[in-house]
Symmetry: C2
Subunit: 220 residues, 2 copies
DNA sequence: AAAAAAATTTAGACTAACCTAAAAATATAT
DNA sequence: ATATATTTTTAGGTTAGTCTAAATTTTTTT
């Protein structure tokens, strides 16, 4: 049978929280992320376990099964493809698309997803630099660095963000940092780890540790 | 406050069933169209009346209020714009888009609808020839004829369909009848009212009364 | 105009997804 | 290792939208 909007959201969030290594996710963490109470999460976990979508033992946390991961990745694929559509075709800003994609990601129809993918030219990354799983559900995480791991003097390419909050993305817009920008760390302040960064070899600006922590980059 | 998916569907269906003159819609008709039971409809009508979206007096049938009509037309606008998107941009057939648009029509965000409209070039009609309400909610029904009202010898333009069933649309595809085709009635069979129709001045085919009844056309 | 039929509403129940409060299990601190 | 704190689960309840069966109202027929 079909999975509900809510079930899909739980699976997506479990996927996000269990990270690359597939660690167990706690009930409280899920309550936080779903904006519900722990008791509600417990109810849903029993249900998802019965459907064979998660591994769940009382008090032991939760992990996706193969079937659950398949659903989660399909939702992520749809979310990211719709984000590309909203930005590339409809002209939304990268800070405006998350909420709308949260709705669109639950529209069923494999045909729709595959045609959308083709219409968009089979994009590999969404507007925030997150990789788009392919139709078979292969999601290969590019191994980006966080800007805090880059040394003074190094030049890196801006490839993505960890924080997707509109306020953060708007801050990057105002700073002139976009996907593909070349960033060169010219100085790191010992005291607060803030940095001076030259962007595309031209203007230099200060960025706080808070910002550095949320920028994904790649050595060239 | 917001209207639910289900509430929007009731309003859309009341709109469709009450026709141009805004006649009262019966509980049973709504039960039929929503694929629920009359008792469920009654519950929903009480709720919609409380929200000021319908005029409802027990046993008297139901009519949209101004507010209700606004919601219904907004849903119709979204449905038809998404259908244009699916056909024009994603290459779906006109027989394949109804179900998907039934889902997409409930995605909220005025910004999304207006950008989609612009992206599509402000289309006036959907792939079935139905008029698309404008952003202000103006829905002007073009006064099309039904093919049964056309006489032998007349040439008309095929402008739309009344039946949206995939099987009917596929039948038209196989017959080579598309929006914009020029139809000339060359003969009407007295016995069963079936007709011979020349399409675009070339090939002629027989169409049954059942088909004629569902073709919307315009004199030129 | 009374009886019969049809349509509609009410009454009472169910499921999904949520809640609060209390109980139980696990983890942490002394 | 016991006491305390935290996390998680259970118990019991709520709302939206649905259901069936019974009661009521309206319509149709005789």
């Amino acid at each position: 049978m079909q999975n509900s909007f809510t079930e899909e959201n739980y699976l997506k969030i479990i996927h996000a929280l269990s990270g690359r290594e597939g660690v167990e996710v706690s009930t409280n963490a899920l309550a936080e992320s779903t904006a519900t109470r722990a008791a509600s999460v417990t109810d849903m976990l029993r249900k998802l376990a019965e459907k064979g979508l998660i591994h769940y033992k009382k008090y032991q946390g939760v992990r996706l099964t193969g079937a659950g991961e398949k659903v989660a990745i399909s939702v992520i694929r749809k979310h990211r493809l719709w984000e590309v559509f909203l930005v590339e075709k409809l002209g939304f800003g990268w800070d405006e698309v998350h909420e709308i994609a949260e709705e669109l990601e639950h529209i069923p129809s494999d045909e729709l997803v595959e045609r959308l993918d083709a219409f968009l030219g089979h994009p590999r990354f969404d507007p925030h630099g997150d990789p788009i799983p392919d139709a078979k559900g292969n999601l290969t995480d590019p191994d980006y660095l966080i800007l805090t791991d880059v040394n003074v003097g190094e030049k890196v390419l801006m490839m993505g963000v960890l924080d997707h909050a509109p306020s953060f993305l708007q801050h990057l817009d105002r700073s002139g940092i976009t996907l593909g920008s070349v960033l060169e760390i010219t100085e790191i302040n010992e005291y607060d780890k803030s940095a001076s960064v030259r962007i595309n070899g031209t203007n230099t600006l200060f960025i706080s540790l808070e910002v550095s922590k949320n920028l994904l980059v790649q050595r060239r």
